[in-house]
Symmetry: C2
Subunit: 328 residues, 2 copies
């Protein structure tokens, strides 16, 4: 039997957690990062049981993986070319089995091993429900990607398809809306994997950096699509004071994606695909399309502040956002 | 009437929170810190409603202040001479009134204005109970204070008295143990203030750095006493493989502190005084006593691994630690 956190006690819990970090790393409350010439990027994300994950859809190891992936995705969307590491605040009731915590930290380390960085430190406490608050630190490369740096005439281009994570969730929750017999086994596997093990697209950022035409300056709008593709476009437009036209026939739908409103809604607003969405000059977009396999051009930035419309009929693309507070 | 978080919605909440940070600071998910030659220190602390604070003893503004103070205290105890800033993850039920959140961030900014640093970023989510997870970033000075750097022969010296925060809590909770009529109004005020508005002792670190005798190297053991004075000594001893002798007659009791077992226990294990505890060579301790008003020499480090005893009768000093998980 795995012990509960109350049975372990705080001292033993901290000892066990220290095994997930480099030797001696968690001996002190504070982690030390060697300095270098490059500016530091910092990001904090919180994952709460029942909101961002649940036992029915997310194994402990996937909770840890997703917590890291969500944070590194934000760093990639800001221009981080290397990851220093993360701190983790873990809150859980005393009745939580140790095996769950161990699974979470196994997932954290698996994601860090894959994408770089180490567990730098953290804190833990009991509390009424389980949650993780992760702060990630990385180093900026030559381009600071900003939400407010989109300009009219830019191409909107995403690092990959959207909607898979939402489909994966639907499959895991056995939502009756989804006729699984019409979906290939490959698409289903891909969707579940995208939901449980999203990849932060540090590779896509590197592709963008590698292919910038020499005549262009280091200016690009960018964000990740953790809240959905449309929310990413809205974020770029509202921060930059621009509008956008989306190309209905070139939405970044996954391969073999069914036709229909539900499926387009999931592509636009399903969320949690953790792709990058760039706003870049057409020449840079051309170069990116030849550099980054799977990237998808789906619209352009306009000077019509706050107006996000379809390019064919100029009708508004509706908001499909998700509000973390409204339902609680 | 102040709106609840559910009434505000996430977008409006984020807008309101952005007013607590420098203009534009929270526009992107990731904060950027300019780089300089000095290594970076990182610390994460989590504060949970019902465990680290409660409405009956801690106003919202004090919750915010304490969250910052606890983090900066850890940075000071590691050798940070300047503070870059903090990220804040806020979790609260949708029924939480906005005025509480506003109070917390007012307290956060009051502490940052006093001690340095800005609100760099963060995240928020609904959740079943209120909590704050704060990550603080600061720059290391010439001395990296470590728990494992204590050496036999070192003097144990604290930056100030211990027990006030615990007395403050007792007064706020009207615990029957405390005979308030025997305590001066000044001591009571000081205790409540220490509980609600603890100061991170960055000044004490600066005092330590300023007075190092030239013939000594930059080597000192150090930690803060957030978990209590005895826990700080235990942390130094277990990380350094040493023991300690404490001088019963020179415990760092507050002025006008009553005599008795309860009061000595609060001095040793009351916790949350957020003073610094140093393990330094005697010549450095002599210099510190003339530099830092209120610092208190209370024992020495020995080579008897794990043995923490009174210097007069060599009897063990009992553990009065507090386990965050055991009671939940």
């Amino acid at each position: 039997m795995t012990p509960t956190l109350a049975e372990l006690g705080e001292e033993e819990l901290l000892k066990r957690l220290a095994r997930f970090a480099p030797p001696g790393q968690l001996d002190d409350d504070t982690a030390c990062l060697g300095s270098d010439a490059r500016p530091l990027l910092v990001n904090t994300d919180v994952l709460v049981d029942g909101i961002h994950f649940s036992d029915t859809t997310t194994a402990a190891v996937d909770v840890g993986w997703r917590a890291v992936a969500a944070n590194l995705s934000d760093l990639a969307a800001s221009g981080a070319v290397s990851i220093d590491g993360i701190t983790v605040a873990l809150v859980a009731p005393g009745t939580t089995p140790w095996s769950w915590v161990e699974g979470v930290y196994d997932g954290i380390n698996a994601a860090l091993e894959k994408h770089g960085g180490t567990l730098l430190g953290g804190d833990c406490s009991s509390g009424s429900s389980r949650l993780l608050s992760v702060t990630a630190l990385g180093r900026l490369g030559p381009l600071r990607l900003l939400r407010n740096a989109a300009q009219p005439g830019d191409v909107l281009i995403s690092s990959g398809p959207h909607g898979l994570s939402r489909l994966g969730l639907a499959l895991l929750q056995k939502e009756p809306l989804v006729q699984t017999n019409s979906l290939s086994a490959e698409l289903q596997d891909q969707a579940i994997s995208q939901h449980q093990r999203p990849r932060p697209r540090l590779d896509a950022l590197n592709g963008l950096l590698a292919c910038k035409p020499a005549e262009l300056s280091w200016r690009a709008g960018g964000t990740d699509s953790s809240d959905g593709l449309l929310a990413a476009v809205q974020g770029l437009c509202s921060s930059s004071g621009t509008g956008a036209q989306l190309d209905r026939s070139h939405l970044p739908r996954p391969q073999e994606w069914p036709h229909g409103d539900l499926w387009d809604r999931w592509c636009l607003a399903g969320g949690e695909d953790f792709e990058l969405v760039f706003s870049i000059p057409p020449a840079w977009a051309d170069a990116l399309e030849t550099t980054l396999a799977g990237c998808r051009r789906f619209g352009q930035i306009t000077d019509k502040t706050g107006s996000i419309v379809w390019s064919d009929d100029k009708k508004p693309v509706l908001d499909g956002g998700f509000d973390h507070f409204a339902s609680s």
